[in-house]
């Protein structure tokens, strides 16, 4: 099934590449409905249980075939979904479709390439979330970089080339570091393949040997941090976050949507799968360090957002902040912490996607994103601003929207997770005040008050196809906020086995 999903998406991307620019957008939206419908079908037909990497895991839609072997180690085509990956798969397909629709207005050149790249990226992202073999996963993981590089570089803002190359090289360095860490582990383990379940189970069983004269204990810690830093760049976590604002500001809106909505989740997803599933012991030994990193990301990211004038930059930094919660939830290693972190991935994907899209819609008409350049937009674009307000409040963690559920889950999970955890949690929670601060200030200055616009464009209501994706996202956010069980059940089912760290 997953193969079909990947194949359809990939072929769609080729079809769109070949399509004329005029119809590419519509065609891409139409074609992207197939993976969306497919992933929703996967959701309804999901029959897995447990964690994909652990012995209790009973995967849904699993397939496995030998691809090649490197020495004694097999590289397999091994895909499957569990409660953690399925929601992310659905998130990916949903956001891609919406991002494509939202691109109709702003993307006015080289459309077929744009939409082809988006669909190509979707295929790679689906692969990332479903692959269960390290090499296979890594192929998809790196493959995501290529379309994103072009999306930023070709269709981006004035400093797009700088931003694109920074994103490209920075995340690539991180991947390499992570690769070294994982491979060092693999060779110190008595495993027969690069299968993530096998690696995880062997590591958890304490079968790590030594490598190149490095003792198992040291090796595990070194590998843990190599991998952690590798993913931390992707997440991104302070102090590895500086590529993100540049990338976001320069990227065209639909790319920002996918960047914030899905690409960042790759990092946290991988952290969950690798660091916290495979080496919970190390995570527990360094819990203060990791929790501190999470807390600093939350507060520092929020403080940075407070200082920004560019709406996109604000949302970008707030993503850093939001991802800090995920780190905190993960390191808690409790059902609610891990579940909340995963839930936050989905939730933040939707909410940041929503905000970026809204900023994009505003930009489409005003041609500026600077807070000081406009005011009183609510007067001219009531629906868009309404959605913006909804999105902003979702970001602030308004109850009955998914952001609140995610944050509360994380806080509940983290509060009593380890000695001193209340302090860390309470410190991180202060983020909910700062986030309210910067979003409210930005909204007040740009959306409310008397209408004024520095750029002298005629501002009218946004076209319907700009607004529909926003409404769909708001609806989804509220749906998940009111009924988090829709996905939280399967998430907790998959992460509960991880709680408490080493068994």
């Amino acid at each position: 099934m997953i193969e079909a999903l990947l194949a359809v998406t990939f072929v769609s991307s080729l079809v769109v590449f070949a399509a004329p620019d005029r119809v590419a957008g519509k065609l891409a939206a139409l074609l992207s409905l197939a993976p969306l419908a497919g992933s929703l079908w996967l959701y309804t037909a999901f029959d897995g249980s447990g964690n994909a990497l652990l012995p209790d895991g009973d995967l849904a839609f699993e397939t496995m075939a030998t691809w090649l072997s490197i020495g004694d180690l097999a590289v397999n085509w091994h895909v499957g979904l569990d409660g953690v990956s399925l929601p992310l798969v659905v998130l990916t397909t949903l956001l891609t479709t919406l991002a494509i629709v939202s691109a109709w207005t702003p993307i006015d050149e080289r459309q077929s390439q744009f939409y082809g790249l988006v669909l190509f990226m979707e295929a790679a992202l689906l692969g990332v979330f479903s692959a269960l073999d390290f090499f296979l996963w890594f192929v998809f993981w790196e493959a995501v970089l290529v379309p994103m590089y072009f999306l930023i570089g070709v269709w981006g803002g004035p400093r797009r080339k700088y931003a694109a190359i920074k994103f490209f090289v920075y995340t690539n360095v991180a991947s390499l570091l992570m690769f070294i860490g994982v491979i060092a582990l693999v060779f110190a383990l008595p495993v027969e393949s690069f299968g993530l379940p096998e690696i995880a189970q062997s590591l958890r069983a304490g079968e790590l040997g030594s490598l190149a004269g490095i003792q198992p204990g040291t090796l595990e810690v070194l590998a843990f941090f190599a991998i952690f830093v590798g993913f931390a760049v992707k997440v991104p976590v302070v102090p590895f976050h500086t590529w993100l604002p540049d990338a976001h500001v320069e990227a065209p809106t639909p790319a920002s949507v996918l960047l914030a909505g899905v690409l960042l989740k790759m990092g946290t997803y991988a952290l969950l799968r690798f660091n916290f599933t495979m080496m919970p012991g190390v995570a527990q030994d360094y819990v203060y360090l990791i929790a501190a990193v999470g807390v600093v990301s939350v507060i520092y990211g929020a403080m940075l957002a407070l200082a920004q004038q560019d709406l996109k930059r604000i949302v970008a930094y707030s993503s850093v902040s939001s991802m800090g919660y995920v780190i905190l939830g993960l390191v808690a290693l409790t059902p609610f912490g891990l579940g909340g972190a995963t839930f936050q991935m989905v939730s933040h994907g939707l909410i940041s996607g929503l905000l970026f899209m809204t900023v994009g819609v505003i930009y489409n008409t005003t041609h500026t994103r600077m807070v000081g350049d406009m005011s009183g937009l609510a007067d001219r674009m009531p629906f868009t601003v309404g959605v913006f307000v909804a999105g902003a409040f979702a970001y602030m963690g308004l109850p009955l929207m998914s952001g609140f559920a995610a944050e509360v889950f994380i806080f509940l999970g983290a509060f009593d997770a380890f000695a001193g955890a209340p302090w860390f949690t309470a410190a991180a929670m202060f983020g909910i005040v700062i986030v309210a601060g910067y979003l409210l200030f930005a909204m007040q200055r740009s959306l409310f008050g008397p209408f004024r616009l520095e750029t002298d464009y005629e501002v009218g209501r946004a076209p319907l196809h700009d607004v529909v994706p926003l409404v769909v996202l708001v609806a989804t956010i509220v749906l998940l906020g009111v009924f988090p069980e829709l996905i939280f059940d399967m998430i907790t089912d998959a992460v509960t086995a991880l709680s408490g760290g080493v068994a």
Binding site: I70, G71, F140, L145, Y149, K161, V173
Partner: protein, 499 residues
């Protein structure tokens, strides 16, 4: 298994014969303008040799049994055939592309015959099982190469490149042969297996002489592979030479240097032999070379202004990656050794395809009269989208990004290094690889992201260049899913050396 034995020399024979046919054609019709015929003969010859190599592999020469010929002077085994595939593939690509590139040049028959002769030399070198055959075949590779680099004899760059290449090459081959003479002085033999047996049984009395010889032989190899500090010819030669030749040299000729090193150092001077490792730990030597080469090549490539020169330096950098395949050899680590060497072989194969493709793209740009600098490539994708797709594939593949073959080969190489415990080699490789992403993406940026700086129209459709570039692009992509086939062949081949 083949019978009679000499059938195992089919690739060598076919290539040699093709060269003769080309010369014959030229003799019969010296003023021939029929470049199609010449290019076809060369290409068909290369492809036939490729087919022969594949056929030999298919019938089981290599993994199961190696064929030893001429009293053991030549051996056709997995490694030889694997590299034959690399050489002939590159040669085929280059000859196809040369059809357009040489459209306005005379002495075409000589050109093609030199290419095919150099290829012959490489294939023989891959089978060479003695320092004597190795030296002779190495010269058979080098001498046509000098001529080919300087082929554009009215072009100052080409001549300058040829001069430098030749002078450094002559010096290096002198060093190489002197090294051979020193090894002969110690062991009294040039045959690899005999040497190994001698060292194992009699030990090494004059460790100094032997060590001196080894270092000098490494120097010869390093010249061929363009490893620092024997790389100085490479940037100029690759930049000044006709682009197809640059591709040919930086891919095939480099691989030829490596195959010699692989065989010589793992058979004759194996670290498993206590006497050898006692006299000189050549793995350390290669580690030093690998590190320096990776650093110099990639860092210098990062700041180039001209695309071809960037590719030249990057080619030096890639030599550094492949050197990991020798640097991470450990005594007694048979399984691990074949992993890392298999990875290096596989990288040479993938590199051969993608790097040749990249140089051929540059050749296409030269054909069109586009300038040499990055800026001159701006917006090329608007004019030639398909070729630019291929170029982007080459660049990303060279940088080690999926879904292209270069991704796997580079990462498996790093993996092999880690597996042998040389995580720091992999780390340096990783750092330089990230840097390489920077400079490779500059090309992509120029052709895909930048707007055309001037309104230029491309002249003509070079069918041969297009075909070769496209083929290389398809192969680069296909080598990802098909990586398994290649890497397993490479392991099996490599493990023969460690048997």
């Amino acid at each position: 298994m083949v019978s009679p034995d000499w059938l195992a020399l089919a690739p060598h024979g076919i290539l040699g014969l093709t060269a003769m046919v080309l010369l014959l054609y030229d003799m019969i019709d010296p003023d021939s303008r029929n470049r199609l015929a010449l290019a076809s003969i060369a290409t068909v010859g290369s492809l036939a040799a490729l087919a022969a190599s594949a056929w030999l592999l298919a019938v089981g020469v290599g993994p199961s049994e190696s064929v030893s010929l001429f009293d053991g002077q030549l051996v056709v085994d997995g490694v030889a055939l694997f590299f034959s595939v690399v050489f002939t593939t590159v040669a085929a690509l280059v000859t196809v592309a040369s059809y357009d590139y040489l459209a306005d040049h005379s002495y075409q028959a000589e050109y093609y015959s030199l290419v095919v002769l150099a290829t012959t030399g490489m294939v023989v070198l891959a089978s060479a099982n003695s320092l004597a055959t190795a030296f002779v075949s190495l010269e058979l590779v080098s001498l046509p190469s000098y001529a080919l680099v300087a082929f554009l004899k009215t072009n100052r760059g080409s001549v300058e490149a040829g001069t430098k290449y030749f002078l450094i090459g002559a010096l290096s081959s002198a060093v190489f042969v002197y090294g051979i003479s020193l090894v002969y002085a110690v062991a009294g033999s040039l045959h690899f297996e005999t040497l190994a047996a001698f060292f194992a049984e009699q030990g090494i009395e004059q460790a100094g002489v032997f060590g001196l010889g080894i270092v000098m032989i490494v120097g010869g190899v390093a010249f061929k592979t363009a490893s620092v500090p024997f790389h100085f010819w490479a940037p100029e030669a690759y930049e000044g030479a006709p682009a197809p030749i640059s591709g040919f040299l930086s891919s095939a000729s480099k691989a030829a240097g490596f195959v010699l090193a692989f065989r010589a150092f793992n058979v004759a001077f194996s670290l498993d032999i206590a006497a050898v490792s006692g006299a000189i730990d050549w793995a350390l030597l290669f580690q030093i070379l690998a590190v320096v080469t990776m650093i110099v090549g990639n860092f210098a490539a990062a700041v180039q202004e001209r695309v071809k020169r960037m590719l030249a330096y990057s080619s030096v950098g890639h030599a550094g990656y492949v050197l990991i395949g020798l640097a991470a050899i450990t005594s007694g680590g048979a399984g691990g050794n074949s992993i890392v060497m298999g990875a290096a072989m596989m990288h040479l194969l993938v590199y051969g395809v993608m790097n040749t493709g990249a140089f051929l793209f540059v050749g296409m740009a030269e054909y069109w009269g586009v300038g040499r600098r990055f800026e001159d490539y701006n917006g090329l994708s608007k004019q030639a989208p398909m070729a630019c797709v291929a170029m982007a594939i080459f660049m990303f593949s060279l940088a080690g990004l999926p879904p292209f073959g270069g991704f796997f080969s580079k990462y498996v190489l790093f993996l092999g290094a880690i597996q042998a415990g040389f995580w720091w080699l992999a780390a340096i490789g990783a750092v330089t690889s990230a840097l390489s992403l920077y400079y490779y993406s500059r090309v992509v940026k120029a052709i895909w992201i930048e707007d055309p700086s001037a309104d230029f129209r491309l002249r003509g459709r070079p069918v041969g260049l297009y075909a070769a570039v496209m083929l290389a692009g398809v192969l680069t992509v296909a080598l990802l899913p098909a990586f398994g086939v290649g890497i397993e062949a490479a392991y099996d081949a490599a493990s023969v050396l460690f048997a």
